[in-house]
Amino acid sequence: MTANQYDAIIIGGGHNGLVAASYLARAGKKVVVLERRPIVGGAAVTEEIFPGYKFTEFSYVVSLLRPEIIRDLELPKHGLKILPLPSTFTPMENGDYLAAWDDHDLTRRELYRHSPKDAEAYDEYARVMARAAKAIKPIINLIPPDPSSMSIRDLMGLLKVGQYAASLSEKELYMVAKLATQSSADLLEEWFETDALKGTKAASGIIGTYLGPRSPGTAYVLLHHYMGEIDGAFRAWGFAKNGSGGVSGSIYNASQALGVEVRVNASVQQVKVKGGRAVGVILENGDELDSKVVMSAADPKRTFLQFVEQKHLPDDFVTSIQNFRARGSSGKINIALSKLPNFTALPYTGNGANSVLHRGAVSISPSIDYIERAYDDAKYGQISKRPYIDMIFPSMIDPDMAPPGHHVMSCFVQYAPYDLEGGWTDQRRDELGEAVIATIEQYAPNIRECIVGMQVISPKDIERIAGITGGNIFHGELLLHQIFFLRPTPQWADFRTPLKGYYFGASGAHPGGGVMGAPGMLAAKEILKDGML
């Protein structure tokens, strides 16, 4: 083989691309990963935006990363270290707060303070959700079959889905069916009465979607976020040492140990096609690389509308990729702090180093109506005047993230619509930053005096920097008609594409986004099954 001759080329050095490459290299294949940016990690990167302050620029918590990947690639050995996020703190509009601690009894007592009924219902709710998440989990590792196909592979796949369904009890099956279709507001209103509790829980159902908590289908997104596990502990959220860059960093280290070649500053212009097959890529600098197969870990639109000449793909397929919903709806505000903002609902003393709430997440989600109104703004192309914000203070968990005594703060904010009316400008970006600060100020009045530097990332910026078309953090919304055998499009949900030798293993494929790594792993396994290498 010559220097530019590979078994497999992986486009995109995000976590999925690196996972796929590692699995292929593990099988003894010669693999190269091509990354457009000067660093690997894609949307899971840590960057020093202000000198001394490190930020996990886009994604910021870990939970969904598949345990089998951690095991197979021996990620802990390669530097993966997950630090738990012990609490969620929701300040309320009346000056009180609602907190969930990692101590179950403490949480129960806290809930009891707000509503004895909710405290009673809480355990049962948690049990039901955990059961539902466990029931749905086997689907994550299934290769979605095409129900309209009569091929043996698809029929076997359907049989597997049938077997899976039959393995559930009647109750579990209905639970899953209901959770897959209802709105998170409807789900939560059946259980609870405390607004702040419902608001905070409902927030998991809107992450990365262009939907409000009253939109049907959001309960599924909520459930998707329940599927996380850290070291086998269900529904645990953590923060990776060195941020999300620490996650992709460890996968990168693993890939290096397995002999994967990674090229940065290597932007792909086009997939080379010969005799109806993908046979390599052409880079923007004109370099050509040859391979037996090519896998894209970019979003579906770049994968199929940009990298491949349209004449190689059926018209129907192109249309359905054009129709794939990938509307970014969230922004990210990364703030460098000289001190911690002090929340009036539970003020800290001293410099706040001992503050418990700052060690966990702070959620601005006082009620379902609050989030729904934030969505109403976005629905008509506006930035939410009072957005939902999920804050964490990574420097409280990992002091290496900021200079001594100083802090970094990461604010996930929704909604910031990609299709902003009038378009995104510097001024509109400032407006988003101001909406976030003004909102936080209601609960932590000293926030402005703490700020040393602030980076505002709009969905347009996510698109520009991370290369995700539409700036959707999941590469495509987790809508009912965009999951399982419909993701990214019907008939092509098995990681293969209409172009032979071209594979698709990114968040836009089954089972979806959220730093899971599953699409990359499953795609690599399918590539190996096809025996073209």
Partner: protein, 492 residues
């Protein structure tokens, strides 16, 4: 105490369909109706001299096989009436009929796509129709050959639809109506007019997931975009009542059921509000599931989890009706006309309901026949955050008339008589819990084997010999009669 084979609670179209099928099998059948007239939601009433209107459902068509089975043609029902025009209003106020020729006026591209859209929708409606005529058994493997066979037939029908239509049908169900129409059309006015049909009677906006399903549902029930009228709504239920009687069944009006008599988890009969008791082997309730299970049965006789699920059924009516009698000089064209200028307009009209408010700029569907105008007003939520429907209904009347007058300035002066019905009236007069026309919202989590609640879509209830045959169970919603027929057929 008199005794019957079957008692049917409610003489709406589903109750009557069930009664007719049962009577046809030779059963001794009694239908009990609360009101002094039969018809339920499918009723024609007089509110004054020459002021006779279809109070709730304007027209509708029963399933053709029901018309045939029950020989309804011999009672004057015409199964194959021509569809009415479906009209929307352009920004300048001029009407636009939704057909290829008229759409050309605003978009050549949309006109070219229209036939393919209609073809797909007809196909989807056909698949939906087969879905509704299949009784959804309990899942997963807890059903016998007969039920399994029905499911198999259904799966076969899906396969026969062809690969592309089948996948597109499945995909369309959870989609938003907006997404669905955007795959075909570019003009907002055409898209919005179709979206209006998708949200008709449902408490969701066109940007809500699952309105793809409600569009197909409405399309199936109407036979297209416009209501396909077989005549006055009351003619449907009158023909059905005649069929019931011809097969030897009895119908009693002003006979309100107070409770269902239950002994050892078995339904034995009913008790009327005047204290009269009537016994029967089987009871069919065409009332909505919440009313049937929580009021007529009562929580004390049901398993706690079942009660919890029943309480959680989403009813959420948000429709008010305003009927106008005019001197005819109103300027509104005959047929079905919608005030739905844009998708955003419809979505904003819906937004109000989320916070318990009446839409200031409502979506209206106006059915006009000569001097009589019926306005379907959305959204007027049953659960108002503040205010009382007895007073608020005046505001709704004004909003409706003002909104229409913008396009038809002569309307107000032409009005001679008016009758309006609030969501509270829908509950109190017509017995629809929370004013929900469909006995439960048509949403994906209340669809197929989850309607009315998960596991109980096969017309059965935890009470032996008590069956559900109304719109609230699978097959229901709209004027098709599928729920009533399926219920009657599920019992041997």
């Amino acid at each position: 105490m008199s005794h019957y084979d079957n008692i049917i609670i409610g003489a709406g179209h589903n109750g009557l369909v069930a009664a007719a099928y049962l009577a046809k099998q030779g059963k001794k059948v009694l239908v009990l109706e609360r009101r002094s007239i039969i018809g339920g939601s499918v009723v024609t009433e007089s509110f004054g001299d020459n002021f006779s209107v279809d109070s709730l459902h304007t027209g509708g068509t029963l399933r053709p096989d029901i018309i045939k089975d029950l020989k309804l043609a011999s009672y004057g029902l015409q199964p194959d009436s021509a569809p009415q025009p479906f009209i929307t209003l352009l920004a300048d106020g001029s009407p636009l009929t939704l057909d290829v020729e008229s759409i050309k006026r605003i978009s050549e591209k949309d006109a070219a796509r229209f036939p393919e859209f209609v073809r797909f929708m007809n196909k989807a409606a056909q698949i939906m129709d087969v879905t509704y005529s299949t009784i959804m058994p309990r899942l997963p493997m807890n059903f016998g050959f007969k039920e399994g066979y029905g499911l198999l037939e259904w799966a076969l029908e899906l396969k026969l639809a062809g690969r592309k239509d089948m996948l597109n049908f499945i995909r369309a169900l959870p989609m938003t109506a907006q997404e669905l129409v955007e795959e075909y059309f570019e003009s907002d006015i055409v898209k919005a007019a179709i979206c209006a049909v998708a949200i008709h009677g449902s408490t969701l906006g066109p940007m809500g997931a699952g309105t793809g399903y409600t569009l197909i549902h409405s399309w199936m029930n109407r036979g297209g975009l416009a209501h396909k009228n077989v005549g006055k709504a009351g003619e449907i239920t009158t023909a059905l009542a005649n069929a019931v009687k011809a097969f030897g069944g009895e119908i009693r009006t002003e006979a309100e059921v107070a409770s269902i008599k239950i002994e050892n988890q078995i339904a034995k009969g009913v008790v009327l509000i005047n204290g009269e008791e009537i016994s029967a082997n089987q009871i069919f309730s065409a009332a909505d599931p919440k009313h049937t299970l929580l009021k007529l049965v009562g929580a004390q006789d049901l398993p706690p989890e079942f009660v919890w699920h029943t309480q959680s059924i989403k009813m959420r009516g948000s429709v008010a009706k305003i009927h106008l009698q005019t001197n005819g000089n109103h300027g509104i064209p005959e047929g079905t006309l919608v005030v739905a200028p844009s998708i955003k307009y419809l979505e904003k009209a819906y937004d109000a309901t989320k916070y318990g408010e009446v839409s200031e700029e409502p979506y209206l569907e106006v059915t006009t026949s000569g001097n009589t105008i019926s306005i379907h007003f959305q959204f007027a939520p049953y659960a108002l955050k503040s205010g009382d429907w007895k007073l608020e209904i005046k505001k709704v009347e004004e909003l409706a008339i003002n909104s229409l007058s913008e396009y038809f300035p002569n309307l107000r002066a032409s009005i001679s008589n008016l009758k309006s019905l609030s969501p509270l009236d829908l509950e109190q007069t017509y017995g629809l819990t929370e004013g929900d026309l469909n006995h439960g919202q048509l949403m994906l989590d209340q669809f197929l084997f989850m309607r009315p609640i998960p596991g109980w879509s096969n017309h059965k209830t935890p009470i032996d010999n008590l069956y559900l045959c109304g719109s609230g169970v699978h097959g229901g919603g709209g004027v098709s009669g599928a729920a009533g027929r399926n219920a009657a057929k599920s019992v041997r």
